[in-house]
């Protein structure tokens, strides 16, 4: 077994373990932490597949930003695990059905001929920067899908703001712009008063 295979199995073992702990951990924060570990390990496997950009992007975006916010929310929730587990058996058939469906879909996709790339063709020639080629493709051949995706994200962002916006604020607050531009003479006036003689 060469070193690459060993690293692959090592990372895969951690990934499978972490993914299992995400759904079995009793504490939601521990589950989120294992999800972070799973993302990180996934980045490692992608780096092994010479997809350096994807590997770094998943760590930068998912581990570095998305999961921080996720953890932010999960930490503040007061989750009673026993209450959540009450309906476990009644939900199990539906969950199992959905899981089965997903396994079927994935096997269809992974079994298709587009995924059967011979290892020799998948090798990246030396000197080609993964990041550069993805960027070049994104802004030439796939520029319309790319712009469309960003537009969808923008719509999603605006929708989230609209949904959570609760009208103008009723409470009193200070305007930082005015605070920044305040001058000393707006606040304090030093008067020169002649001494009064009796």
């Amino acid at each position: 077994m060469d070193i690459q295979t060993f690293v692959f199995f090592f990372l895969s073992a951690i990934l499978v373990f972490a993914a299992l702990r995400v759904i079995t951990a009793r504490n939601p924060v521990h589950a989120a932490l294992h999800l972070i570990l799973a993302f990180f390990t996934c980045g490692g496997i992608w780096a092994l597949l010479q997809a350096e950009f994807l590997a770094i992007a998943i760590i930068l975006v998912y581990v570095g930003a998305v999961m921080v916010l996720f953890l932010f929310v999960v930490m503040m929730l007061d989750i009673n695990m026993d209450r959540i587990r009450e309906g476990f058996w009644s939900y199990l058939p539906l969950g199992a059905l959905l899981g089965l469906l997903m396994v079927m879909e994935m096997s269809l996709v992974l079994g298709s001929k587009y995924f059967q790339v011979p290892a020799a063709e998948a090798m990246v020639p030396a000197g080609v920067s993964n990041t550069k080629s993805i960027g070049a493709l994104m802004f030439t051949d796939f520029v319309y899908p790319f712009e469309l995706a960003s537009l969808i994200l923008l719509v999603g962002m605006i929708a989230a703001i609209v949904l959570t916006h609760r009208g103008p604020k009723q409470s009193k607050y200070t305007n930082p712009n005015q605070q920044v531009f305040v001058k000393a003479k707006d606040r304090v006036r030093v008067l020169q008063m002649p001494v009064e003689k009796d």
Partner: protein, 349 residues
């Protein structure tokens, strides 16, 4: 060098490359840790003089052994684990703080040949690794099971996310004009230009054409480090000591080490990306690692100076600065640089 390689090959045989890499890692981490130790002393001395005090001067001549004494004291102290804390996470958190602070140094170039791993996407790697550093703070706050620590962690998480965006945008400008994600390449590009031809090399570094981005990066860097005036995560007067309030002994020291190692890292990155790295400021002097160290010391002095000068930001002001000031500036300058590069007035060929 060849003799050393042959000697190592003879002793270790096939595992020599791995051993050699380990030696190189030690050669980076050991001076870094020494730098961290003396940065703490420098901070106390510099702020002392700025406030017309003397600073530590009891341990050794001019207080030079003070950081060693501090380290020993922390090493011998007991690590107290709060009763109802999440024990495993509590112990892992300081490690999660220090590991990324050290791992990021793997791709930092000291000269154009002196770099541990010269990878293509080193800028992306640095951004990814440093973005993990926030977990040490968040988890320590949560695991402590203390309200002050938790508040500190929440503040820190929100702050890190906000300023990472501005930081990323300013770096995008740098990589646009350098046409590369490789840090060595980014420095080499700064060696060309009209002013470099005239011998005034320091005017062709990135800080001048990207001046707004340089300022944004420096300030966001300070915010990412949780340093004053952005140290709301610690906020002694509001939340006692923030996220590390329950930590003692070496666990506390690890947070301290991580903060100062990150300071040196941000100083190194600022020097590399905006101040020309190891390039000499004038044409008639040779380039060398000494210039990088000098620039890093200057940026570090700025951090200390900030701390001695500015009062702490209020939390809403901090968020406003990140989202409503820096991000619009970055977006506008991104377009300006793009147009500039495509126009006939471009200075980057």
């Amino acid at each position: 060098m060849d003799a050393l390689m042959n000697f190592g090959q003879g002793i270790f045989g096939g595992v020599w490359p791995a051993v050699w890499t380990l030696i190189k890692i030690v050669l980076i981490v050991a001076p870094l840790m020494l730098g961290v130790a003396y940065l703490t002393l420098a901070e106390r001395k510099v702020i002392g003089y700025m406030q017309v005090r003397i600073g530590p001067n009891r341990v050794g001549p001019w207080g030079l052994i003070q950081p060693i004494a501090d380290g020993l004291k922390l090493l011998f102290k007991e690590i107290i684990i709060p009763g109802r804390s999440s024990k495993g996470v509590f112990i892992i958190a300081p490690m999660l703080a220090i590991a990324p602070a050290l791992a990021a140094w793997a791709v930092v170039p000291f000269t154009d040949t002196l770099v541990l791993a010269n990878i293509d996407a080193s800028l992306l790697y640095i951004m990814a690794i440093t973005s993990i550093g926030v977990y040490g703070i968040i988890l320590s706050g949560w695991a402590s099971n203390s309200k002050y620590a938790f508040l500190g962690a929440m503040r820190s998480a929100a702050q890190m996310i906000s300023y990472e965006i501005a930081m990323g945008f300013s770096l995008i400008c740098v990589l646009m004009i350098s046409n590369s994600l490789n840090l060595v390449e980014i420095v080499n590009v700064q060696d060309q230009g009209r002013f470099a031809g005239m011998g005034l090399n320091f005017l062709s570094w990135n800080w001048l054409p990207l001046f707004p981005m340089f300022i944004v990066y420096l300030i966001s860097g300070t915010a990412e480090l949780n340093r004053a005036p952005f140290d709301v995560a610690e906020g002694e007067s509001e939340i006692v000591a923030g996220f590390h309030i329950e930590y003692s002994g070496m666990a506390f020291a690890l947070f301290f080490l991580a903060e100062y190692a990150n300071m040196i890292l941000v100083a190194a990155l600022t020097s590399i990306m905006f101040l020309g790295g190891w390039l000499s400021p004038v044409g008639f002097l040779p380039d060398g690692i000494i210039w990088l160290l000098a620039k890093m010391s200057f940026v570090l002095l700025l951090f200390l100076w900030f701390r001695a000068t500015f009062p702490r930001y209020r939390y809403d002001q901090l968020m406003r600065l990140g989202w409503k000031v820096f991000i619009p500036i970055c977006l506008i300058w991104l377009v300006v640089v793009g147009v500039w590069m495509m126009s006939p007035f471009t200075i980057w060929k």
